[in-house]
Symmetry: C2
């Protein structure tokens, strides 16, 4: 297999685009898809300070790498979940990665601030680990971005992540989640950071190939809590369809975005909707739909701090 | 495993309902689900003449059997597609089935009326066999129902069929098809029969068990043209999810129906929509959105008659 752009030996075939790329052209392809995502979805400009949430995995480190190479003003945010060896290893990868590139890194230590690691917190409040983890991460992603004055918070969700999430939302007809699902959520009110997903045009295997080709030192293991997660099953299903009909995943997610935009204008009115329903949490001042935000209610139940 | 109703030996576990049934109680269960479907979706009453489209497979023969046992005024319609041994065998099963029960049977012979079997017709017009077959069957289902004065045309689509079709429509965001997908489509104007799917509450394996328990002599082979069909892949995917989380299929399809009803009232306004866009075909007078209907255009291209 030869690269369709320069005829060098290809490292990855991309059936949905009827193409194949060598390492250099794949890197260009991923960069171009990221630039297109940033532009089309009005994510940020080179004048904006961008906070990238990094887990140490291939997606978030690739995103940080692409944005840094493209000359964006980026910093990293690592939330140390306190999940034993997995957290120790991923943290060291993130620290080395940012140090080598001279990128500023914010670190939030769950063990210190929340008084216990994710698994102990989950046990204390009788909730699944992934749900506890989601609440804590979303909370600190937003809070760090707002408190340090970043224009936007970027996460490494790729096309596979977004398509799998969409499938889950559709299978259960989560209409509220469907309204909010998109690659660029505006900063609807004070204290609520803009959130973007610049990798939403890039498939998981393309990000993985980018990370390998560019020798990014990422943590290969999945989070030990993710085993058997429904999202992995959805991804697997979509990969089977993609194998039979290349382009299915992209058509599914992009088709949804196109419908959102032209259809009822839901995404356009979302900022106003947020303004109507969000208010500052009485305890921590972060935006919430109730008097006390989900994070503060969770911490009150855990009683660890 | 014991029947949860009568403690006899169970023949089928139904995890999504946390239950299991013996043959007799399974037969009751299927009948009750059909009665509930007929009532909730306002399909027909015992005063109505119902035409049931039968292929000779487990679903359509089970439906005819249930409706006949329940005392509905039913007749069968068999469309002989002229697909060699498969058609010969399925036709003989249908004829024996209806004769034994004294049910009137209409037979439409594609070889005679359309001048060639489905496979030859498909070759002539360069379209996939399943698409040609769909056009011809839909056309004669409607035409036979209208010309013979049946109140409604019933097909044997089960929960798995409808959920798989919904998944296909959602993956491609076929919004026009999504609007029209439902278990009961009204007779929106003259020449357009009401269409219903009384098995939409019953899963495929439950229908199969009903057919076996009640010793229905159905054709076990799938249509030879169906091999590799996308619908089989969708069904397989949904079955995997169903295995992990019993009830997924039902939640997906019923959730969609509930949303359709409460949401934008699309199903309610569909009849009016049809009236606005349908007109009689200039050649055959059947309802169509163009001047000449899809069936007549297809037959003009085939030039077999």
């Amino acid at each position: 297999m030869r690269c369709r752009k320069c005829s060098n030996k290809a490292v990855l075939g991309i059936p949905r685009h009827h193409t194949a790329f060598c390492g250099t052209c794949l890197t260009d392809f991923v960069s171009q898809q990221v630039m297109r995502a940033i532009k089309e979805e009005d994510m940020f400009t080179k004048a904006d300070r961008v906070l990238v949430a990094v887990s140490g995995g291939k997606d978030s480190l690739s995103l940080l790498d692409v944005l840094h190479r493209l000359g964006y003003d980026v910093a990293g945010l690592y939330v140390d979940l306190g999940i034993g060896e997995y957290s120790r290893l991923s943290k060291s990868k993130v620290e080395r990665f940012t140090q080598m590139r001279g990128i500023r890194l914010h670190v939030h230590q769950v063990l210190e601030t929340e008084g216990a690691g994710i698994n102990d917190l989950s046990d204390l409040i009788h909730r699944p680990a992934c749900s506890t983890c989601g609440t804590i991460k979303r909370y600190h992603f937003n809070r760090t971005a707002v408190e340090h004055g970043y224009a936007v918070l970027a996460t490494g969700h790729n096309l596979d992540d977004e398509a799998a999430r969409l499938l889950g939302n559709v299978l259960h007809w989560q209409t509220e989640y469907l309204k909010k699902q998109g690659p660029s959520l505006p900063d609807s009110l004070d204290g609520f950071a803009k959130k973007v997903k610049p990798l939403f045009r890039v498939a998981e295997r393309e990000v993985a190939a980018y990370a390998i080709v560019n020798r990014l030192d990422y943590i290969v293991e999945e989070c030990p809590n993710a085993k058997g997660a429904k999202m992995l099953l959805y991804k697997d299903m979509l990969n089977r369809l993609e194998h039979e009909s290349p382009g299915t995943k992209q058509m599914f997610y992009w088709g949804f975005l196109a419908m959102q935009k032209t259809g009822s204008g839901q995404r356009l009115s979302m900022a106003e909707n947020d303004r109507a329903i969000l208010q500052p949490c009485l305890k921590c001042s972060q935006p919430t739909t109730s008097e006390i935000c989900g994070y503060c209610r969770m911490m009150a139940r855990a009683q660890t701090v």
